[in-house]
Each structure stands twice: as C-alpha cells, then as structure tokens.
Subunit: 204 residues, 2 copies
C-alpha cells in the first residue's frame, strides 16, 4: 500500500525544497521546472505528489501557516497578558523576515477560502483569542480585536517585506508602539506604560 521506489520523495522533503526556492528567489521562481531540478527529478513526476502547480501552492501555503503557528505558540509559552501579545507578534513578524518566500506562499493559495487553508489559519486565530483573553473583552469586541491584531501583523509584515517602510526608523520599535497603542485603546486590564500585573501562564 505504500511502496518506496527509486528516490522515495515524501511531501515534506518536497515542500522544504519549495520553501527554500521561495525564500531565496521568491514565489515566482517556485515553478515545477525549478522544483524538479532541485529535487533531481523530471517535472511530470511531481504530479504523483500533488495536483499540479495550484496543488503545490495550496500545500505550501498550509505548510507556511502551520510553521508560523508553531513559532507563535512557542513564543506564547510561559508569558501572559500584554507580554504574551507582544511575544506572538514578534514571532509572527520575525517569521516573515526569516522566511520571506514561505510567508509569501502563505498568501499564494489558489483559493484562500479553501477549507484546509482556512483550518490552518483558524489555529492562529484561536491562539490570538486565547492570548487576548486577559483583556476580558465582551463577546463581539474580542472578535473585532482579533481582526485588528491580525490586520496589524499581516499589514506590517507585508509592507516591511515590500520595502514600504523606507525611513530609517527602527522597525521593532514601530511594531511595539503600534500594538501597545492598539491594546491600550481597546481598554483591557493592561495599561500602556504601567506594569504587567502578574506572570503566570494563560495558555489553555
């Protein structure tokens, strides 16, 4: 039921290779021809692993979203409150910096509304909701706030990647100021300049 022929490529190996191409040369260079060359096979052989170029892009998008989630979840361990929000935020933008091509792939899914793609993204949303729970936001407001945090993180990363911030002004400082301001404005238990109440973990 699962033979291991000549080369025995598995999907992870293929996606790792595709991710390397993306990070080094950009998503427009992630072609079946380039990927096959890197793997030492012929382009049609790739069809045994995914459904053509759209299939590759979808799988690479999910692969990227999951990697971002992992780094965010890891960053959220052992911290809480505003500190936790800042930690997952840093993890998000740092992933986009370290893996610009994979981050780009995240937005390259042929159908962003695809069930599996949405499902992968939902984990990030859920994590954000949990981290923001310290603010004790009433029902709907919590969801609006998550939308805001996601908008900030994606917008900031995307603009930074495209060279949208050209002034010589520290980028990490901008991000911290932006998020702290947003959280302060939302009005949770945290205050912009004040101390962080306590230090135990919130993570479910």
């Amino acid at each position: 039921m699962s033979p291991r022929p000549k080369i025995g490529l598995d999907l992870t190996t293929i996606l790792d290779a595709a991710g390397e191409i993306a990070d080094q040369y950009g998503m427009q260079e992630v072609t079946l021809a380039n990927l096959a060359k890197k793997l030492g096979i012929r382009p049609p052989s790739l069809y045994n692993h995914f459904e053509g170029l759209p299939g590759l892009r979808k799988k690479l998008a999910i692969y990227g979203i999951e990697k971002i989630y992992e780094e965010m979840a890891d960053a959220a361990i052992g911290v809480s409150g505003t500190e936790a929000v800042l930690a997952i935020s840093k993890a998000y933008v740092n992933f986009a910096r370290k893996h610009p091509g994979i981050y780009e792939a995240t937005l390259f899914a042929p159908d962003p509304g695809d069930k599996e793609v949405q499902q992968a993204g939902a984990k990030i949303v859920d994590l954000s909701v949990r981290v923001l729970q310290v603010h004790h936001l009433e029902g709907d407001l919590a969801l609006h706030v998550v939308r805001g945090l996601r908008s900030i993180l994606h917008g900031f990363s995307s603009l930074e990647q495209r060279g949208g911030f050209k002034l010589s002004l520290d980028l990490d400082e901008s991000l911290m100021i932006i998020i702290k301001a947003f959280l302060t404005g939302i009005g949770g238990e945290q205050s912009f300049t004040g101390p962080i109440p306590n230090g135990d973990q919130n993570r479910s």
Copy 2:
C-alpha cells in the same frame, strides 16, 4: 513626433483594460495574451507601450496607487481630526473592495523598491501624516503612527479580500473599532469612548 497610427492606443486605455481584467478575473489573468485580445491587437504590439510584462505590472501598480490616493484625498476634503482619519480609512478599504484586482496589482510590482512606485506611495504617506497632525505627535512618534495606520489598512484590506474574516461580524464596524482604538491608544485629542467633537456617527 507623435503619430497616430491605425488604432492609436494610449497607455491609459491599456491600463484601464488591464484593470478591468484584474478586477474581473484576478491579476494572474492579466497576461499579454489576454490584454491584447481585449484590446484587439496582437501581444507583441504591446511592447510599443511598455517594457514587457514586468513593465505592465509596474505601471499598473502605480496606476492603482494613484487611484487609491485620489479617493483618499477626496474623502479627506472638508473633514478633520479623527473623522478625517476614519474617512480616508474607509476610502482605502472601499477601493480595495470595489477594485480587488487593481488593489492586487498594487502589490504586484516587480520591484516594490522602484523609485516611481515608492514616489506614488509616498503621496499616501504624506496625506496620512497631514491627517494625523491633529494628534500633535512628537517627531518620531508621528512616523510610527503612520506605519501603524498603513499596516492596519493594508492588512485589513488584504485579509478581507482573501476571505480571512469568515465570521459573520460586520466588517465596517471592525474597521472603525480598530482604528479608533489605535488612535485612542496613541493618545491624541480623541478618546475611544468619549464623544467625538463633531457629533455625527461614532461607533458605526
């Protein structure tokens, strides 16, 4: 010095056509073949108007950025303070909604760091700086805040376009809450829950 041969296409006509294709079918369908077909000419003829596909993408990006700027500038006429920030914000996301393909084109420039592309974007930044001046932010802080506003607007538009907000929660309301919270947190003259000086619509 400027003959008017057979058809006499000018760049604006071409970009309008390309924009229509983008809005209807997405940027991946903006090919020289499709564009030429829509214009009634042969693909190689397009090379008389721009430098290949990368040239088209660059010009279309600038075209889109300028259109966004125009709508934002128009929305800023006759309003001030927080109201003005909300007005240009609505104009921005509404443009992305009405012209998803052209908005996509905005991010499709082959070299986002290109001088002309940056110059077009700078007008939006300048407008934002002016509109935010009511908050009397000290030097650097003003720039951080502009980065934040741009991140929110681009991130929100991009996520909305990709179906990233799947909950049945009013999108305009989210945007207003997010921006008001951000401005409140920055600490300007306005407050989140307090009355808006002007008096009309607050929480959408």
